[in-house]
Amino acid sequence: MFEQITDKLDGIFKKLTGRGYLSEKNIQEAGREIRMALLEADVNYKVVKNFVAEIEKKAIGQEVTKSITPGQQLIKIIHDEMVNLLGGTRSDMAISSTPPTVIILAGLQGSGKTTLAGKLALYLRKKGHHPLLVAADIHRPAAKKQLQLLAESIQIPFYTAEAGAPDIARGAIAQARENLFDLVIIDTAGRLQIDDALMIELADVKKAVSAHETLFVADAMTGQEALNVASEFHRRIGLTGAVLTKMDGDARGGAAMSLKAALGIPIKFIGTGEKPADVEEFHPARISSRILGMGDIVSFVEKAQEVIDLAEAEKLEKKLLKETFTFEDFLAQLKQIKKMGPLQNLLEMLPGVGKQLKGVTVDENGMARVEAIINSMTRQERTHPSIIDGSRRRRIAAGSGTSVQHVNMLLKQFASMQKMIKQFSRLSLPKGFPS
């Protein structure tokens, strides 16, 4: 997601790391390039100006010039400053002690409010809430229908009415109280911040339900205008946070920095795909690390924890130790990995991988092929691959719709994997290592 800006900063730091000292000139040069990179990432001009000035001020001081590895030191200063700018620690959703908690989604047309409404509902249900999805977009053709279909597909209760937006919102709250839903997510129509009539409507919706969270939904691809738009929404209805959508593309999402730095609006979530599960909590430190090319290992681990069955994992570990890792186990593992989402997204979270992956696409079909081949094996073949002879290979290839070459390749890979596992399990931990 932040590949290009990371590339640019990498370029700067290649020049800096390993040098004995940093002159004022070096820092200014880095400052110019950071300015360029941030502007290319659509961070607001004024925010960039302040940011770069702050970096230069901090860097030109003794901190950098006296430190042993000035390049590293400068990276740390930029990283800290960026985390600072993005809002320090992460900011959670406000959940009311007297339910229902009311969340309003607002923003320009096409920013992704309706899709996000579904995602948030699913996310909050996973956290143990009982959300009600409310369609209050009475302007866009079929907008209500879109949310209704979305709600049905993820089995979340849905409410709308043939009424004005504020009345729909009021009706929704009554509905939530009656049915004990503790959370109400209200999707509103997209509107321009200069459309007075629609801004009044939005303020009325908010007044009608006294919302706990009013989230500004912004497209990650938005340019310099993000700040003006958000500041006008903030002035008219008061925003408690923002969500950056479409972060799964190559947009660098500079708006995130602008909103927080200039308006104090924290980014609470990011949208990372088209499916209802594709929403993530926003962590300033992690995104900042990503910008600086340090990868996002924390998100990766979290994602893994979410889907990987602990009991399964323990069973697998035991098997590994006993050297009885079979195709059955392999298949189970493949399924768990698949649950984590597209491989491409996962790999991009790993340190250093994002950059190397640029322009490379992971062959998701490859995984499907492997699965098909294993599925075409008999139980006996899966536990004792050595019995798979030429005729069995031909049968498996035909059964899985692949070729004998594909089957051969998989068998070879599996054999070397088993060998590796054997070596691993024979390794004993060095003394003094906590087990």
């Binding site: 479409k246 799964d248 190559d250």
Partner: protein, 306 residues
């Protein structure tokens, strides 16, 4: 400029539609240039800042300012700046007249850029001049996308070809083109699902749609238009590049220019990719689509008086 010949709307509509776009930056640029000073370094720097704030980009803006400096247009720097910007745009080629059959236009773009609304507006233009329009609901992915297009089709009086959600978009497009040929329609507009330009599999799907349209009717699609939101920042360059690589764009439609966004990324894109800007969208009503006029756009951007 010939704008009167192409659309019903003349430059006045362009100016009034772009009022909000114009205001903010005009005030800024007028304030900068109105100080009575020459084009000194400080003035030039502030102009560059204004261009960057209009999303022209940190790479293109300094180049434009450099040109302005060289032009030494102390007398009327605003007009000079507008001319420099306008010159970057390639004039749109006149659409080739078809000998027979309907004209087929494929509409592509990222999610939420305004493709469906743009289709309604394009349909409206043709219907207003007595043409028959077929719409193809080939966004079979997003919930209620078909319904949205259906409502527009009813409103503007176009025919719609749709299948059930999740069906093959290329098949929908194929059916629409075949039906339009058989029933002697003038225009086929194919709506596609929004897709981020970096999603390789979705771009492959788009290539397939294009290919299959070509099987329904040789030479089709006659146009492939990228619909882009005016608030788009520098990512617009990546959108143009990757969509163009995948299917070859014949033009760009910039939507939502009735807001305060200035669409400056088009200036950066114009020179780099040379893909003509065909239309701009100035509102949510079906007749809010007008022909792009580079001179008017540039003048609105820098605030030359009408």
């Amino acid at each position: 400029m010939g704008e009167g010949a192409r659309g019903k709307v003349g430059p006045n509509r362009f100016f009034s539609g772009l009022k909000k776009t114009r205001q903010a930056i005009t005030e800024r640029i007028s304030a900068i240039l109105g100080r009575g000073g020459a084009l000194d370094d400080e003035t030039l720097e502030r102009l560059e800042e204004a261009l960057i704030l209009a999303d022209v980009g940190a790479l293109a803006a300094p180049k434009i300012i450099e040109e302005l400096k060289k032009s030494q247009s102390e007398a009327d720097p605003q007009r000079a700046l507008a001319n420099i910007i306008a010159q970057r745009f390639k004039p749109p080629e006149e659409a080739k007249a078809l000998t027979s059959g309907p004209r087929v236009i494929l509409i592509v773009g990222v999610n939420g850029s305004g493709k469906t609304t743009t289709i309604a507006k394009l349909a409206q233009r043709t219907i207003a001049s007595g043409g028959k329009v077929m719409m193809a609901a080939a966004d079979t992915f997003r919930a209620a996308a078909c319904e949205q297009l259906e409502i527009w089709a009813l409103r503007v009086g176009a025919q719609l070809i749709r299948q059930k959600s999740g069906s093959d978009p290329a098949a929908v497009a194929f059916d629409a083109v075949k039906a339009a040929m058989a029933r002697d329609f003038d225009l086929v507009l194919i709506d596609t699902a929004g897709r981020l330009q970096t999603k390789t599999n979705l771009m492959e799907e788009l290539k397939k749609i294009k290919r299959v349209i070509g099987k329904a009717m040789p030479d089709a699609p006659h146009e492939i238009l990228l619909v882009m939101d005016a608030t788009t920042g520098q990512n617009g360059l990546s959108q143009i590049e990757l969509f163009n690589d995948a299917v070859g764009l014949s033009g760009i439609v910039m939507t939502k220019l009735d807001g305060t966004a200035k669409g400056g990324v088009l200036v950066a894109a114009a020179e780099k990719y040379g893909i003509p800007i065909k239309y701009v969208g100035l509102g949510e009503k079906a007749d809010d689509l007008i022909d792009f006029d580079a001179q008017a756009f540039a003048e609105a951007l820098v605030g030359v008086n009408e």
